[in-house]
């Protein structure tokens, strides 16, 4: 009885050290994955913001219905446009009326507003330069009187997204380095506890690859477990955040999520693989009297 208890105690202690490695690796992978998730969401958000940017083409007063349609079609098939809305002179009056809250037409005997086409742009064209370019092309048309967009807004959006992007990239690179260092450390510790075992294996004539193989195999399996735990945690966080922010579902993209999970899995496997190999190699090459 006592012997059995002793044995199971020993086994539990060994398993305990594996579990702590798996847990620490999975927490690091979870942090990395969460950052990736935030970056993906930010990317999607920035696309949404940019697609809300657009410009308005004010048309000449004497333009014919046919010409308007032709122009609108031409813009529709151009690469930059996402959607176009034609606003006739009368529509413009209605819009302004609701904006102002009073019927300004009663003081006037003619409609001073111009017909216009509102263009929403694809995200990749929402850049000050390409907007200026598009404007200079469209203004050449004799039917176009004026093109207006909020230059400062476009500039601001562009600059801020860029700034946030660079910041996030720098932060995630830093975190990646931290992650690799942490995982490497905990794996090295768990191998360190087996350094004398490794020495004994060498003394009976085992080659380096033969000694390394079982350690690496175990390391990869632990990497897979860690990645699975990390993915479950990320999914849990996503589930709860959607309870509080239902809008998040709108920018959710299953395909991108799948990529993220695959990346977490690959990171888990590769980092454990490389760290385990390096750690075992280090102790194989250490002279036995330096192990103590």
């Amino acid at each position: 009885m006592a012997k059995q208890a002793e044995e199971s105690f020993q086994k539990r202690r060994l398993r305990g050290s594996y579990i702590s490695v798996i847990l620490s690796v999975s927490l690091v992978l979870f942090t990395l994955g969460m950052l990736g998730l935030v970056m993906l969401y930010a990317q999607k958000l920035s696309v949404q913001v940019k697609e809300n940017i657009g410009f308005t083409i004010y048309l000449e007063d004497d333009i014919k219905e046919v010409d308007v349609e032709r122009l609108q079609k031409a813009i529709d098939i151009s690469p930059y446009s996402l959607s176009t809305v034609y606003i006739s002179k009368d529509d413009a009056v209605d819009l302004l009326k609701t904006d102002l809250g009073e019927d300004f037409m009663q003081y006037l005997d003619y409609n001073p507003l111009l017909a216009s086409i509102e263009v929403k742009m694809k995200a990749e064209y929402a850049h000050p330069d390409s907007l200026a370019n598009i404007k200079s092309q469209l203004i050449k048309s004799s039917k176009v009187k004026e093109i207006s967009y909020e230059e400062s807004l476009v500039k601001m959006v562009q600059e801020n997204i860029q700034r946030v992007g660079v910041l996030m990239l720098a932060f995630s690179l830093l975190l990646l380095v931290v992650a690799i260092a942490l995982i490497n450390n905990s794996i090295r510790l768990s191998i360190y506890s087996k350094r004398f075992l490794i020495k004994s294996m060498q003394l009976v004539g085992a080659t380096q690859p033969f000694i390394r193989k079982p350690f690496v195999q175990k390391g990869v399996v632990h990497g897979i477990y860690s990645a699975l735990i990390a993915i479950l945690l990320i999914m849990g966080v996503m589930y709860y955040s959607q309870q509080y922010l239902p809008d998040l579902i709108q920018i959710q993209d299953i395909e991108i999520l799948a990529y993220l999970f695959v990346i977490v899995m690959i990171l888990g496997i590769v980092i454990s693989w490389v760290s385990t190999s390096l750690a075992v190699r280090k102790f194989i090459r250490t002279r036995s009297d330096k192990l103590y």
């Binding site: 009976v204 004539g205 080659t207």
Partner: protein, 236 residues
């Protein structure tokens, strides 16, 4: 007859400190040799040089077909397969049973056939009188039993030479006597044994040749009239 080990004019260093100088000896088949000397005189270093843990940088050395001077890191495992090594602290793999310890050595050294492996395990365990203990974990065995497992492990690949570094250092006198008798019997079956020890009372029982480490030299009892050499110079 060709000797198993041949060391000529060898200097042994640890981290550039000269430990033994001008070492010369041969070991022939079936010899049982004691390696003696006070602690710190270089017994372990000499053994380490023989099994490739310390590189040989000076002089010449040969074990079987291996030239110790030209030994590369990748060849060390193959040198060790031709040796049996037994230590004071047993050096068993503590995370697996006795039989698994032996299986590890066999797999590491290229054994494939399960039936043959099983037979060989039974054979060597029988030889060290542990035929029924194959399923035990090392920590469930006494010191003497663990040392016998280590000897069984050293015998697995039928080596011509067994190096033993104070194999009785951790054992009580009676158990020591058993281990020594076991090693002596093994040497009688044609293997050479080089055993470092402090156990002078036991030495009188078996064998007679000694290599004595003293003041940086190795003195071979076979060469009674070894000429006196100038005292050791510390090199750096």
């Amino acid at each position: 007859m060709k000797s198993i080990v041949s060391i000529t004019n060898c200097n042994i260093y640890i981290d550039k400190h000269l430990v033994l100088s001008d070492v010369n000896f041969d070991i022939n088949k079936g010899e049982f040799i004691y390696l003696i000397g006070k602690t710190g005189t270089g017994k372990s270093s000499l053994l380490k040089t023989l099994y490739g843990e310390l590189p040989m940088t000076d002089g010449g050395g040969r074990i079987g077909e291996f030239d110790l001077r030209k030994l590369k890191r990748k060849q060390v495992p193959f040198l060790r397969r031709n040796l049996g090594i037994v230590f004071q602290d047993f050096q068993l793999l503590t995370d697996r049973t006795v039989a698994e310890n032996l299986i590890f050595v066999m797999k590491a050294t290229g054994w494939k056939d399960k039936q043959l492996m099983k037979e060989r395990i039974e054979e060597v365990l029988e030889k060290v009188e542990l035929g029924t203990k194959g399923f035990k974990m090392p920590y469930e065995l006494s010191g003497g039993e663990q040392q016998r497992v280590a000897i069984a492990r050293a015998l697995i690949n039928d080596p011509d030479l067994i190096l033993a570094d104070e194999p009785t250092g951790n054992l009580d006198p009676e158990t020591s006597d058993n281990i020594l008798k076991l090693l002596y019997d093994i040497s009688q079956s044609g293997r050479a044994i080089l055993m470092a020890t402090h156990d002078y009372t036991l030495m009188s029982k078996y064998g007679n040749r000694t290599l004595r480490c003293d003041a940086g030299r190795v003195i071979d009892s076979l060469i009674e009239s070894s000429p006196q050499k100038p005292p050791l110079q510390e090199t750096d």
